[in-house]
């Protein structure tokens, strides 16, 4: 059975908005640095889904795929660096609570 996904664009858009809200809410409400990273990852997933659906609907799937690959490469680098910073923070303060960042000295 072949499904015409162009009929469901509004549904995809609704899902993207919901996932974006989840990511923003997670970043805003949490005090745990790992959860901030998880929220960031969820935001990136929503953007990836939107790019793919837009590429599918506009018939430019090749361009969308190259954009998604670029997003994934940047995502990996950001997560690696952020994980390193989180570990350094944990070693310094023995906690992942973001409120401890107020005690940081330059």
């Amino acid at each position: 059975m072949v499904i015409d996904f162009s009929q469901f664009f509004w549904l995809f858009f609704a899902f993207v908005v919901l996932i974006l809200i989840e990511g923003f809410y997670c970043i805003m409400v949490t005090y745990n640095l790992m959860r901030v990273l998880i929220g960031l990852e969820i935001l990136i997933k929503a953007v990836t889904l939107l790019i793919i659906v837009a590429g599918y609907l506009s018939g430019q799937m090749a361009l969308a795929q190259t954009l998604v690959i670029t997003v994934i490469v940047i995502e990996v680098v950001v997560v690696m660096i952020a994980a390193g910073i989180v570990l350094g923070f944990y070693r310094e303060y023995d906690s992942l609570n973001v409120r401890n960042a107020r005690n940081m000295k330059g």
């Binding site: 989840e22 959860r35 990996v76």
Partner: protein
């Protein structure tokens, strides 16, 4: 995918959140495959579902667990903070379906459909940019984990 994301945000254990994030990646990969984006799907599954999950789980395993009393206290505080999220999502769904509008889809003619051709012929400079970003990331990790003298 939305439910997996919600699980990642709402769960109290970080390890479960990392697993839920991997599940979100897996579901996104399935959507990509169904839409015909196979190359991007492979990248998503191997890098986001695999590598990033491993990084998250490694970081979580390097941190110690909270004492039970402290954990229960924080869990209660978390529930109080995150209890509104399902209601916000529900309200968003209702609003989106009230303002629902048809979106016109235009299919441009003569576009490049081959991913390899697009990547190597049209967006070659982007590839160099990506390589530079990766090298910058490696350099950043080296700086972060450099031993103190």
């Amino acid at each position: 995918m939305t439910l997996a994301g919600l699980w990642a945000v709402m769960t109290s254990l970080l390890l479960r959140a990392a697993i839920a994030l991997a599940l979100t990646s897996a579901i996104l990969t399935i959507i990509m495959f169904r839409l015909g984006a196979t190359l991007a799907g492979v990248f998503e599954l191997s890098v986001c579902g695999g590598l990033i999950s491993v990084v998250f789980i490694s970081v979580i395993s390097l941190t110690h667990r909270l004492p039970l009393q402290e954990y229960l206290k924080r869990r209660e505080s978390r529930i109080n903070r995150f209890i509104y999220l399902p209601f916000i999502l529900l309200a968003t769904v209702i609003i989106l379906f009230i303002i629902q509008k048809p979106i016109l889809v235009t299919l441009p003619m003569g576009t490049i459909t081959e991913v390899r051709s697009m990547m190597w012929d049209v967006r070659r400079i982007d590839l160099f940019g990506q390589i530079m970003v990766l090298l910058a990331g490696v350099y950043g990790v080296l700086i972060l984990f450099k031993g103190r003298k």
